[in-house]
């Protein structure tokens, strides 16, 4: 399945390099979502993620003739390019844009759960988004790739340019950090009971 997909990608890339507009459009439709989601989760802004998608595919268009399928799959190549663009943007902006609440799917709740479960789940997801955005980029990208995008450790290692062991250790550390951050978020959300002295 994966080989078939890679073969199709190679064919599309070859045709794109030859100037085939439909091939480029097909490539875009196949892979735009993963680039967009990765960028959105990394930066926390849909607008910035759109810019990243444009930059990545413009780069793909210009460098289609230089793409070598023997070196990596197109997905890995795109993740690498998206990561580069995201890092550039993060370095340039030096700040994290607030979470894009409008992009949340309001119907994304568990249909089988109760209203309380749904509320709790939504709160957990919101806290998790914040926690991910507050992670250092090297941990954030691992969480986004391996936990949220279902990328294998080997592919993530290739996209990031490190060893598989590094991916594992970073992921472990990232999960620890996320747990701590979510605990802190829950503690802040719980109203503290304090004794108040009344003065008459």
């Amino acid at each position: 399945m994966r080989e078939e997909s890679a073969g199709a990608d190679s064919d599309l890339m070859r045709r794109t390099a030859a100037g085939d507009r439909d091939a480029f459009a097909a490539l875009y439709r196949r892979h735009q979502a993963l680039v967009f989601r990765f960028a959105r989760l990394m930066i926390g802004s849909a607008e910035a993620a759109e810019d990243v998608v444009q930059e990545v595919f413009l780069g793909l268009m210009r460098g289609a003739s230089r793409y070598d399928p023997a070196r990596s799959t197109l997905t890995t190549y795109l993740y690498g390019a998206a990561r580069h663009q995201v890092r550039r943007r993060l370095l340039r902006d030096r700040l994290f844009v607030s979470i894009d609440d409008t992009a949340h799917d309001p119907c994304g709740g568990n249909p089988g759960g109760t209203a309380a479960d749904d509320l709790s789940r939504q709160r957990d997801v919101r806290d998790l988004r914040r926690a991910i955005l507050s992670l250092p980029p090297r941990y954030r990208e691992i969480v986004v790739l391996c936990e949220l995008q279902d990328v294998s450790y080997a592919d993530a290692a290739q996209a990031i340019g490190c060893a598989v062991g590094t991916v594992r250790s970073r992921l472990h550390r990232a999960r620890q950090l996320l747990t701590q951050k979510m605990q802190r978020a829950r503690a802040c959300a719980t109203p503290a009971r304090a004794t108040v002295r009344c003065e008459v």
Partner: protein, 187 residues
């Protein structure tokens, strides 16, 4: 179930929920239209023109870098302090030196050039040129060789110099024939 296990479960559940939410997210459609338009534009531009544009951009960047480098070098030169001694009469060589090199054997213009102020000194701000060896022809090219000379050798030439070191660093002016024409040494 320990607290840690609960936290892990909560995190895993939240990650799954977030992944599920994100699974529906797609790039807005206007991005595709914009990219396809850029693709058409890119393909319409002839390759030769693209290459020429790239070459022009690279050339401009190289020129800009060259100009900046040149400016930086010139600025550094301007900022570097250059010590220039006031023009003064060179120290009188001893009788021995006079015997070795009669002053009449040197062309007047060359002698004047050598006796003029010297901007680069070997060891200190004050130095002088002692004429030794054969006569210097008018317009002759000389090379300057920096070397250490025994103080006793200088004494033999009748040159007395302050200091306690056994050797003195001097600049030897060597003519085209390899014979020393003069010594430049600190006072």
């Amino acid at each position: 179930m320990t607290r840690r296990a609960v936290d892990e479960t909560t995190l895993t559940r939240a990650l799954r929920a977030l992944a599920e939410e994100e699974g529906h997210v797609e790039t807005p459609t206007h991005i595709e239209a914009a990219l396809i338009a850029r693709f058409d534009e890119y393909r319409r531009t002839p390759r030769v023109r693209r290459r020429r544009t790239r070459t022009l951009v690279r050339g401009a960047a190289t020129m800009a870098a060259g100009v900046m480098l040149f400016g930086a070098v010139m600025l550094e030169r301007e900022l570097t302090p250059v010590h220039v001694d006031p023009p003064r009469r060179p120290a009188m060589p001893s009788d021995t030196a006079r015997r070795v090199l009669p002053s009449t054997s040197i062309a007047p213009s060359t002698a004047a050039a050598i006796q003029g102020p010297i901007e680069s000194r070997p060891n200190g701000p004050r130095s002088t040129v002692v004429l030794v060896g054969g006569p210097m022809a008018n317009g002759e090219l000389v090379q300057v060789v920096r070397m250490r000379v025994d103080r006793s050798a200088l004494n033999a030439l009748g040159i007395t110099q302050n200091g306690s070191a056994d050797t003195v660093e001097v600049d030897v002016l060597v003519g085209e024939d390899g014979v020393a024409r003069g010594l430049r040494l600190p006072l």
